[in-house]
């Protein structure tokens, strides 16, 4: 396996999340908003953002988790992906919902997340926060809050690892992942 490049280390992830939290407060002004993390890594990021929002801005922001497996557009030609819990302990109807995910690439995960979310209610507004935007969108989806924009090739693989999953905090870029493995 080719040696991956570290795009963000623990310190950079922390700084990026801090910037994102401040941008959310600025954008929301006095309005309330809730965070919904996309399973799995997005959930941990949403929890960290909520903690930062509480500590730095005194905002008590509710967090939900959303699994998008049921709404994927590629279920027909794949082994079925694992299904993690969707747990949203509040009514999303009428709220400003910030979806949180680790890496934004084709936009298909977010398309699925919008489908999953609207089955649960009718938010007033949905925004998108991602730690890394690596480009190469295949759908008209853009983030509202970005930790870091990274220039990549479509065949690269970007992977986020977090302490919560038993590793070290880092975002890794694997060059030509598909070519290397095929």
């Amino acid at each position: 396996m080719p040696k991956p490049k570290v795009i963000l280390d623990a310190k950079a992830i922390k700084a990026a999340l801090g910037r994102m939290a401040r941008a959310m407060v600025t954008a929301a002004k006095k309005e309330d908003f809730v965070l919904v993390g996309i399973q799995r890594t997005g959930v941990f990021l949403a929890q960290r953002l909520a903690k930062l929002l509480g500590e730095k801005s005194g905002r008590n922001v509710q967090v939900g988790t959303l699994d998008i497996a049921m709404h994927r557009d590629d279920l027909h030609d794949k082994l079925m992906p694992p299904v993690y819990p969707t747990s949203i302990p509040f009514d999303v109807t009428g709220k400003t919902v910030v979806l949180v995910d680790d890496v934004l690439f084709s936009g298909r995960t977010i398309r699925a997340a919008l489908g999953a979310l609207t089955d649960l209610g009718r938010p007033r507004k949905v925004e998108l926060a991602v730690l890394v935007d690596r480009g190469h969108r295949e759908l008209p989806i853009q983030p509202d809050f970005v930790g870091k924009t990274v220039r990549t090739q479509p065949e690269d693989h970007v992977e986020m690892r977090l302490v919560e999953d038993g590793g070290a905090d880092e975002v890794l870029l694997f060059k030509n992942r598909e070519k290397a493995s095929s």
Partner: protein, 328 residues
Amino acid sequence: MNESTSHAPIQPAPVQWKRKDLLDIESLSPEEIRLVLDTAESLKDVGRRMIKKVPALRGKTVVNLFIEPSTRTRTSFELSAKRMSADVINFTAEASSLKKGETLKDTVRNLEALNTDIVVIRHSAAGAPHFIARVLEASVVNAGDGAHEHPTQALLDALTIRENKGRIEGLNVTILGDILYSRVARSNIWTLTKLGAHVTLCGPTTLVPREFARMGCYITHNIEEAIRSADVINLLRIQHERQRKTMFPGTAEYANLFGLTPARFRLTKPDVLIMHPGPINRGVEIASELADCERSVILDQVNNGLAVRMAVLYLVSGHGAATQTLTA
């Protein structure tokens, strides 16, 4: 720490379901059983929503082929398939051409000609699902074959136990009643022993043969002994339709010897779970008031049946893609 270990995968990749069919529990690994339970647990939420439906199986066709009569299992499979957005057709023994002399093989081949993706089959002959699974490209789910297995019932029982007790490993589970003719018992024994529970079987000597000890169970014909240290008591219905008269003591005598009565219930652990796959014969295998007591999770089982069947339909529909992996 060198470079390769610091970037090693954090967790082993989760187990993936690679089987075309769900035919029995016997051939599943503990990891596969846990995958079904985890998937079902995640899907439970769908039933609590205002929109009780997800699009995962949109465009898929599920046929319920029930050669042996059943209402609750068929209804549960039908509703599960609908909650996953599949289209469902029901074939029953009365309505099918099997009555007109068609073979099972021809019946299922006709179903496949309708572009069926999943066949859910109940049949009075053990092994019928395995037979049609070999004939069909479509996925096959066993909804009960004779006295052999009833895998989704055992999985929903395991989910109910795990939900209420937080674990399965190390628990004492007593299965009480007609073991010999029970596919539920067989599937439960496989599931529970694979997940590390201690299984005790109890009932009349004619209905609980010694051979079951080979499956790793403790066998007793003394009900007091069987229930005293149980964390879970799973009561099985007497399968009158499969009995020979000589093997069964009679309803009143059975209730007297092996029924869960209030007096016996007082011997059990305070946190025991009372389970029953239904339909209940009140006053026979269980006293009426105990079926409704707070330790009874009989209706939880019914509810978990939906989540487990949704999970199974979801997982088997990924077959044919064994070499593919998911991209972000």
